[in-house]
Amino acid sequence: MTTLRAQGLTKVYREGAAEVVAVRDVSLAAEAGQVVGVMGPSGSGKTTLLSMLGAILRPTRGAIAICGRDIAGLDERELPLVRRRYVGFVFQSFNLFAALTAAENVEVALGLKGVPPGAARAEARRLLERVGLAHRAHALPRDLSGGEKQRVAIARALAGRPPLILADEPTASLDWRNGEQVMALLRQAAREAGSTVVVVTHDARVTPYLDVRLELRDGRVVG
């Protein structure tokens, strides 16, 4: 089943009188259970592309469909609802809530998806178990290592079994061992939960975990 389909995606920013094309005519399709890597150097448009695929940024031109639903034409009020239903995010800087424990960080995502508090607590525990962090459920982010933080972020991204998980440089802040562990978890999520995982990165060590690899240069797919 095709989870994600993008056709002719283009994003143009205006800088005064000049136009900057961040992403130009990108098309891709990803099946459920696949890990797709978007590789490229800094400034190649990877994050802009990821933002459009995650319904955070609206494309200037082109179409995006997640699970068959067209999202490119949705207005600002509808986009958050698409994100909470279809998309899980993993960020380079983890972006955990500093005042919340590991379990509560996962519960927030479940709460947004309408899971009742009691069920959310149990599900958060299960997800933390899945990423090997059940014993750190009550730890605050400041007491977690970088690898542990990213695993909590993955547990949060898996909350509610979203069909699409988007990871922005998920290994960039981690050492080799933790980076591998994070990629293994993302691939496991794709295989077991049937999610499509899109990873944007310039880190070559993720390559063995990818099913599909796109190379982006100056906003264009070059390979």
Partner: protein, 373 residues
């Protein structure tokens, strides 16, 4: 969902504590100031409000209850003849000096009333009797005046304007606004003591017959020349407004209340704004994972409401606790239920208002922020 608002507040306990103290201080300031003002106003019109009279007649253009002018007693008959008047009494008020037992002197506001009807006299006697005023020159002193006049007992002799009078009663709860205590005597004794009122009265107080509207009867009585006619409510209000506006008392209190609101708003506003800026990336993350603007501002406003609720409860409790020693020191603080509700509304409005700028910042955060390292 996890209570992010509460968790964020408690995450920085020192800042949370400082803000709660700020709101509490603001609530104490507002409640105490309005409470003391209400206490003053109750004192200002205490005689009017506790006298069994529907209509008060004063000389024309007299400013308020405490500073009246005399007028002819003969007008009493005209008042009694007016349709709708059931009864009417003369009432005197004059500022005189009382010689104290310790040799000093104090100004008092001497009220001369008709002991047969008791209209205009004390409403709660703890000792003695009103009828004893008819036996000769006598006075009834209120307990609250002991701090100024010394501790008087029934049977004590005191001197008022070179007239020796005997204390025949002790009243309770007659504390006025001015520093001069109210002292009661009979109308005739008051006229003897105050030479410039020998053939004059200061008030005529009338009761309206059943079935008559005080407003209508007062309107008829306004045909009498050289007097002002008020219903009880009007005269009470006129007296309170005099003290509130003419003396600047109301402005002073209003200014302090305003300061309380400003201080509270600034503390809450500053805290929530700083907290919002510090958590801007988290708000961006929330938006990225699907939170709507409504959910974002609910978090910010909830932080404001938590401050408001805790600050209000603490502030009100402190105010009520300190009102007792303040009362014992002679300053009456009145905190009726409507004031508690009003302060709650002001506190909530203050905290919510102060957080609006933060709400704006939080909902405008670009979720793209989350992709920046």
């Amino acid at each position: 969902m996890v209570d992010i608002a509460r968790k964020n507040l408690l995450h920085d306990r020192v800042r949370f504590l400082i803000t709660v103290v700020g709101v509490t201080f603001s609530v104490v300031l507002i409640t105490a100031q309005v409470g003391i003002y209400l206490g003053f106003m109750r004192g200002a019109s205490i005689i009017i409000d506790n006298t069994a009279a529907d209509i008060w007649i004063t000389s024309a253009n007299s400013a308020n209850f405490d500073f009246p002018l005399g007028f002819s007693e003969a007008k009493l008959n005209k008042v009694k003849e007016a349709p709708g008047v059931a009864s009417a009494d003369l009432l005197i008020l004059g500022w005189v000096g009382m010689r104290l037992k310790n040799g000093g002197a104090e100004s008092i506001e001497l009220i001369g009333f008709n002991p047969d009807t008791g209209v205009g006299g004390p409403w709660h006697l703890v000792e003695g009797s009103i009828q004893a005023l008819k036996a000769g020159p006598g006075i009834i002193v209120d307990e609250s005046a002991f701090s100024r006049l010394g501790h008087l007992r029934v049977g004590d002799l005191v001197e008022i304007v070179e007239t020796r009078v005997r204390v025949v009663g002790i009243s309770r709860g007659v504390r006025g606004l001015t520093t001069a205590p109210y002292v009661f005597t009979s109308y005739r004794t008051a006229q003897q003591i105050i030479p410039w009122l020998r053939d004059q009265t200061v008030f005529i107080v009338a009761r309206v017959a059943p079935g008559y509207d005080p407003e209508e009867v007062a309107a008829r009585l306004r045909q009498i020349r050289d007097v002002d006619v008020h219903t009880r409510r009007q005269y009470s209000l006129k007296t309170r407004l005099y003290w509130t506006i003419e003396t600047g008392l109301g402005f002073g209190f209003a200014l302090t209340v305003l300061m309380g609101v400003i201080v509270g708003s600034m503390i809450v506003g500053q805290t929530i704004y700083t907290s919002t800026i510090e958590h801007l990336r988290e708000y961006g993350t929330l938006k990225a994972i699907g939170a709507t603007n409504r959910e974002i501002y609910a978090i910010v406003l909830r932080q404001a409401l938590i401050h408001a609720a805790i600050g209000y409860v603490l502030g009100l409790a402190i105010t009520l606790v300190v009102s007792r020693p303040i009362g014992a020191a002679g300053l009456v603080m009145v905190v009726p239920p409507w004031l508690m509700i009003a302060v709650l509304v002001v506190t909530v409005a203050m905290c919510l208002g102060a957080s609006l700028l933060s709400v704006r910042r939080a909902v405008r955060v670009d979720p793209m922020l989350v992709f920046r390292a």
